[in-house]
Point group: C2
Chain length 699, copies 2
C-alpha cells in the first residue's frame, strides 16, 4: 500500500482507539485454570465432577433417546422429552448442525450410542423434591440418570454447558458428574406491581432460571402501584387497580404450565395488609382511612393498609384467597406483610379501640392478629403461609415460612424458634451491587450458630427484582447475568467460592442466556441508539463501560421517579456491574503488585482511550438533549484518566511524587466521583490507587 | 503522554482500524437536502407537507387532550386515547422527560395549549375506510383532526416522527400536513406455517406496521409444514398438525384486538387445496392419495392436495370455515389456492373420472370447481374470497379478490376483467433484495394500461414474509427496515421516488422501530455471539457488513434446509441488504466520477480495514466449528480488497494498467464472487468498477 493511502485524519485514529478500548477493557486475561472449574464452563458448579480423557463427538447423527415406556405418545408429551427437544434445538442453534433426528415428535427407535436419559418417576413441584442426577459422558455414549424427570432437566442443562470445540468439531468432554442442589428453594422474585412485566418477560426469565437450575418463581403480583391478576370474583380489583395491565387467569395458567415444564414452582404473593393502595381503588371501604384512592404513581412506603378491625375484610379475603388458591397450584402462598406504615391504623379510633379491646399492644400485634385470621383461611384452602420478616410475631404457629429481607440474623432467630426460612437479604439485585457481593452471601455461613436440625429449616433463598426502576426493556440486564451467581450459591457446595472463576464462567453463561431470548446484552445498545436518535453510538458504549448506576437506593434521590417516568436514560443502558471496570481494577492491582511494563502499557492505552472519548461524546450530547446530563460523567472520566496517565507514567519511570501532588490529583478525582446522570464512574478507585502508589515510596 | 505509553502492538492497531471501518462504512454522507423530504424524517412521506417557521417546544408540561365527550370513561377506553397514551409513553422514552400528565388514565381538564385531537367517528376496519388526517403544529399548540379515529392514529405516528432537537431541547417543527393514503390495502403477510412465530413476534410486528401506517396483517396460518390455528370443531387439525405450535383461539382474538387498536385488519389465510399436508396428518381421507401423512419438514411444492371430487370435504369445509368466519371478524378470507402440484390429482382415477363427467378440462378447471364450492360456503358466512393468482379462472364471479404473486401483468389482466387485486409480486421480502427494488415497484405504474375505473380495482399491495428460512430470532431483520420502503410506496404519492432520500429516512425509521421491541438491529450481534461462543465479535461484524445472504431462492440450493434446521449461521446474522456495502458502492461511483483524493483516501482506508480483517477472523473460526464455513468469504474479501487497493492506488496516481492486468485481477474477483456459507460478498461490483476504471484510458 502506498503512503498517501495510509494518511488518516486524527479523528479517525482517536475513534479507532476508542472502539478498540471497548474491546480491550472488557475481557481480562482468563483466570488461572487451576481447578476443574477453571477449565469447564459449568454454572452452577456440580456437587461432584470428574473429567476423564476422551471426547464424545457431536455431529448430525446425534440422537437423544427417551426411556421406552410402551406408550410412544406418553414419551413425546412428557416433560423430560419436551426438555430433550429443547435441548436438541439449542444444541443445533449453537453448532449449526442439521441434526437428522426429528426431535420434535419422533421417538427414535432404539439405536446404539447417542444420549440416553432415564428417571424413576415424574418429579413433584414441591420443596425437597429430588433434583439430583448422574451424568456420564463416554466417547461413544452419554447416560443421564435421575430419580425424577426434574433431575433429567437439570442434567440436560449441565450437558449443554459442557459443549466444547476443537479442530475436528464439537464435542462433549468425557466426565462423570454426580449432582444435587445444596438448597431446595432457589428463587427469583419479580415485582410486577411497580412496573408491569408482560407474559413474554416472565417466560424468558423462567427459561433463564431453568438454565441455571433455579426452581421457584416468586410472583409479586400486587403493590400500591398495581393489582396485576384477574379476579373473577372481584373483577373491580384488576379493572380499576391496574391501568389495564394485568394477567388474565388464562395467562397465569399458561405461565404456571410453562414454569412446570421447566421444573419451576410458581408462588404468588399478594402483599397485605400494607403495600395495598391499588386494592383500595376498587374497595376504599376496606382501607383504614376514609376517602377515594387512586393507583399510586410514586415509590416508597405508603399509608394505606387494610383495616384488621373491620370484620368485612375477612369474608372478602376468604373469597379472594379461595379463588387464588385454586388458580395457583403451589402449596405456598406469600402474603407479604412487610412495611405497614402505620399512620392509618394509628389515626383510626375504631382500630385503636379494637386493639385495646383485644389486648393488642402495638401495630405488630395487630398485624399478627390479621395474619392469624389469614392463616386460618389459607389453611382451609390447603395453602402454607409465607411472609416477610414482619409476619414473625409471637403467637403464630411454626408451619409458616419466614422470608427474610432484613437479614440473616432474623432468619437465624426464626430457625432457632423452629420456623422455616428463606433468605433474600443480600440477594437484592435491584441494588446494582456486584455479583461478588451476592455470591459470597451464604444463607448458611460456616459460622452459623444453628444445629443440623435447625439448618434444615433454612430452605434457601431468592433473588429479588424489585421493579421501581426497571421496565420490560431493562429488567433482563438488572437480573442477568448476576443472578446466575446467586443460583450457584444456592445450588453448589458451600466450598465453591472462587470469585475470579465465578466471573470467568459468568461471561459464558451470559452469552448462553441470550439463546433463550434474554435481552440483557442486546438492549443497552438499543437504549443508546434511541437516546442518540442514531445508530452511531460507539463513544456512548465506551463511556457506559466505565460507568455504573448509583448503588443501593441513591438513584431515587436524584429525581422524583414514578411508575410513568421514562427509564430510557443513559444510566438505564449501563450494566449494574461493569465487567470492563472490574477488569480494569484487577489490572491496576496486578500492575501495582509487580510493575509489569507490558501491563502498564496496556493500562495506559485504556486510560488514553477513555480520556480521548470525551471529545467524541460531545457532538452526540449536542444532538440529543436527553444525553446532556452525561457531560459531567464523560468529562470526569477524561480528567481522571489524565490523572491516571500521569501517575502511571511516573510509576513506570520510578519517580516519586510529592504528597502535595497526590492531594491535588485527589481533588480532581473527588470531583469526578460526584454522581451525575444518576450514575457514577466505576474506575476511580483504581485510578486513586495509581495516584497513591506513585506518591508513595519507590520500590 | 510519554512515548513508551503510546507503543502499541500491531494487532491492536489492526483491530482498531477494523472496528473503525465498521463505523465509517456504514454511514454515507447524508443525501443533499434539496427537498422537504431531505430535512424531515417522515416515512411514509405525507401527501402534502408545508414547513413553517417556528418550533413547538416539548417539555414536561406537554399534555395531550382528547375531545370531551361528556363520558370520561368513554374517552379513556377509546382507541384514539389509548394510542395517545402510547404516543406519550414513546415520546417520554425518546426524550427522557418526566411528563406531568398521568397519560394512562387521566382525562386532563381543558387547558390551553398542548396536543388536541378530534375525529368525527370511530373508523371501521374495512378497505376504503377514511384514514386521512390534518396535522397543524403551531408554536403554541398542535391540532390533529381526522374523519375517523384511525386517521388520528396515523397522524400521531407522523407527529412522533417530527420530533426534533436543538440546543434548547426537543421540539416539533411548525408544519401543516394534509395526509391520506394512496392505496387502501397496505399489508404484511407473515407465514407462520413453515416456521411458527409466537404471539409476541406478531404483536411487535403489528406495532411496526402501525408505525409506518400499514393496515392489513395477512396471517398465513396453514402450510404443508404446520396447521397453526386451534379448531374447536376439528381439534385433531391443530393437535396433530402443528407439533404443539399453534395459536389458541383466545390468542387469535387477542391478536385481532391488538391489531384493531392499531387500525390494522387481520385477514386469515387457509391455503387450500394444495400446501395442505399438515391437514392430512389428521384427515388423510380428504387428500387425493391414500396413505398416512406426517407434517412436512422439507420446503418446496408438494403433492398432497384436497380431493375436490370427494363430496365429504365440502361439509368439512363448511363447518371449518363457519368456525373460522366467526373467529376472524374481517370480511375477507384468503383461501390461498397457489401451487397445486397436480400429481395426486392426476394419479387418482376417481378424480379423473370426476373431471371427465363434469367437463373439467384440466386441473385449473378442477380447482375453479373447488373454489366455486368454497365461494358458496364463504358467502354464506359473510366472507369475501381472496386467493392467489391461480384462483383467477373463468367462471368465478368478480367479487373475489386476486392476490398476485406472479406479477403486475396478471393483476392488470384481472382488473381488465373487473376483478379487484392486490400486488405482492415485487414485494417478496424473503428474497433478500434491496429496499430500492421494492420501493420502485408500483402497483399502478405510470404506464399502466388501466382506466380510472379499473385502477380503482387495484386495492394496494402486501409485503410477503415467507418463512422457510426465518425463525422468531431472525424474522424482524428480514422484514425491517426494508418493509418501511414498501409501506411508503403504498401510502405516499406516486411521485415520491427519490431513492437516496428513502434510504436516508429508512435509517431513522429503523432506529425508531426498536422502541417497539423489534429485534432487527439487536439480534445479528446476538447470533454472532452465539456462533463465537464469546462476546468478542468485532471482526465478525466487520465481515458481516460486507456480506449479504444469497438472493432469491439460491440459498435453498446450498443445503437441505428443513423446518427443524438451525437458522443460526453467519448468513442469518447478515442483513438482507447491507447499508455499509451500499454506501461503499456509492462512494466508489462518486470517486470514479470526480476522482476526489479525499474520498479516495477514505475508500482506501475502508479497503485496508476489510483486507486486514481476515487475520482477525481466523482465530474465531478456529475456535468455532460453526464459523468455519465463512473462511472463503473472509479470504475473498481480503483478496478483493487487495485488488481494490492496487487499482485505487493506480487511479489516484493517474497510471493506466494494461488489459492483461485487469483480466488477472478479474479472475481474483470472480473467485471471490463464489457463494460461500450461503452468502456472498456485496462489495465486489464496486471493486470491479475500480479495476475496470484503472485499466481504462487516463482521464
Amino acid at each position: 500500500m502506498t503512503g498517501h493511502l495510509s494518511a488518516k485524519p486524527p479523528i479517525l485514529v482517536i475513534l479507532a482507539f476508542l472502539t478498540l478500548g471497548s474491546v480491550l477493557t472488557m475481557y481480562p486475561p482468563a483466570a488461572a485454570a487451576a481447578s476443574v472449574d477453571g477449565v469447564l464452563k459449568l454454572m452452577p458448579v456440580p456437587a461432584s465432577v470428574t473429567v476423564r480423557d476422551g471426547r464424545f463427538r457431536v455431529d448430525e447423527n446425534l440422537t437423544i433417546v427417551p426411556p421406552y415406556t410402551g406408550d410412544p405418545k406418553g414419551v413425546v408429551t412428557s416433560r423430560a422429552f419436551k426438555a430433550a427437544a429443547r435441548f436438541m434445538s439449542r444444541l443445533a442453534g449453537r453448532t449449526g448442525l442439521f441434526l437428522k433426528q426429528d426431535f420434535l415428535t419422533a421417538q427414535t427407535p432404539s439405536v446404539e450410542g447417542g444420549i440416553r436419559y432415564a428417571y424413576a418417576r415424574p418429579g413433584a413441584l414441591l420443596p425437597n423434591e429430588d433434583e439430583s442426577y448422574a451424568l456420564t459422558v463416554a466417547p461413544d455414549k452419554i447416560a443421564l440418570d435421575a430419580k425424577t424427570d426434574i433431575g433429567v432437566l437439570r442434567g440436560l442443562e449441565t450437558l449443554l454447558q459442557l459443549l466444547s470445540a476443537d479442530e475436528t468439531g464439537y464435542y462433549f468432554p468425557c466426565v462423570d458428574i454426580a449432582d444435587k442442589p445444596r438448597f431446595t428453594w432457589r428463587g427469583l422474585l419479580i415485582d410486577v406491581g411497580r412496573h408491569f412485566h408482560p407474559v413474554d418477560v416472565i417466560k424468558r426469565n423462567l427459561d433463564a432460571m431453568a438454565a441455571v437450575k433455579m426452581n421457584v418463581f416468586h410472583w409479586h403480583l400486587t403493590e400500591d402501584q398495581g393489582f396485576r391478576v384477574e379476579s373473577k370474583v372481584f373483577p373491580k380489583l384488576h379493572q380499576l387497580g391496574s391501568d389495564g395491565m394485568f394477567y388474565t387467569q388464562a395467562q397465569i395458567r399458561d405461565v404456571i404450565g410453562y414454569a412446570a415444564e421447566r421444573g419451576i414452582r410458581v408462588m404468588p404473593e399478594f402483599d397485605i395488609p400494607g403495600h395495598s393502595t391499588s386494592w383500595f381503588v376498587a374497595y376504599p371501604e376496606f382501607s383504614s382511612a376514609p376517602g377515594s384512592y387512586g393507583i399510586e404513581r410514586k415509590f416508597g412506603v405508603f399509608g394505606p393498609a387494610f383495616n384488621p378491625s373491620d370484620e368485612r375484610i375477612y369474608p372478602f379475603f376468604d373469597a379472594f384467597l379461595k379463588e387464588m388458591s385454586a388458580l395457583f397450584p403451589d402449596p405456598y402462598l406469600h402474603i407479604g406483610g412487610d412495611e405497614v406504615e402505620g399512620h392509618q391504623w394509628e389515626a383510626n379510633p375504631a382500630i385503636q379501640a379494637f386493639k385495646k379491646k383485644n389486648g393488642l399492644a402495638d401495630n405488630g400485634a395487630l398485624q399478627a392478629y390479621f395474619n392469624k385470621r389469614l392463616l386460618k383461611i389459607l389453611t382451609k384452602y390447603g395453602k402454607k403461609m409465607v411472609g416477610w420478616d414482619e409476619v414473625f410475631q409471637p403467637g403464630l404457629p411454626n408451619d409458616i415460612v419466614i422470608h427474610s429481607w432484613r437479614g440473616p440474623k432474623a432468619l437465624v432467630e426464626a430457625a432457632l424458634k423452629g420456623y422455616q426460612g428463606i433468605l433474600s437479604n443480600g440477594y437484592y439485585i435491584d441494588l446494582c451491587q456486584p455479583a461478588e457481593a451476592h455470591y459470597l452471601n451464604d444463607p448458611l455461613p460456616p459460622d452459623s450458630p444453628l444445629d443440623d436440625r435447625q439448618k434444615a429449616l433454612i430452605l434457601g433463598g431468592e433473588a429479588t427484582m424489585w421493579s421501581e426502576l426497571v421496565t420490560p426493556e431493562t429488567i433482563d440486564s438488572r437480573i442477568w447475568p448476576r443472578t446466575a451467581a446467586i443460583a450457584e450459591r444456592l445450588w453448589s457446595p458451600a466450598s465453591v467460592t472462587n470469585v475470579d472463576d465465578m466471573y470467568r464462567r459468568l461471561g459464558f453463561v451470559s452469552v448462553e442466556l441470550e439463546e433463550l431470548g434474554l435481552l440483557h446484552l442486546k438492549n443497552p445498545d438499543m437504549l443508546l441508539r434511541r437516546l442518540a436518535g442514531d445508530p452511531r453510538i460507539e463513544p456512548l458504549k465506551v463511556l457506559a463501560e466505565a460507568v455504573e448506576p448509583l448503588k443501593n437506593y441513591q438513584r431515587h434521590g436524584q429525581a422524583a421517579y414514578t411508575s410513568l417516568s421514562p427509564f430510557t436514560r443513559f444510566v438505564d443502558a449501563c450494566a449494574p456491574e461493569s465487567l470492563a471496570a472490574r477488569a480494569f481494577r484487577k489490572n491496576i492491582d496486578q500492575f501495582l503488585a509487580g510493575k509489569d511494563p507490558k501491563l502498564g502499557r496496556k493500562i495506559g492505552a485504556t486510560l488514553a482511550l477513555w480520556k480521548a472519548n470525551h471529545v467524541l461524546v460531545l457532538p452526540l450530547i449536542a444532538a440529543s438533549p436527553a444525553l446532556r446530563e452525561i457531560e459531567p460523567l464523560s468529562l470526569g472520566l477524561a480528567r481522571a484518566c489524565e490523572v491516571g496517565l500521569e501517575a502511571l507514567d511516573r510509576l513506570m519511570k520510578g519517580q516519586i511524587q510529592p504528597a502535595a501532588w497526590a492531594e491535588e490529583k485527589g481533588k480532581i478525582l473527588a470531583e469526578a466521583a460526584k454522581p451525575a446522570a444518576h450514575a457514577e464512574l466505576a474506575v476511580l478507585s483504581a485510578v486513586t490507587k495509581l495516584v497513591e502508589a506513585s506518591a508513595g515510596p519507590a520500590k
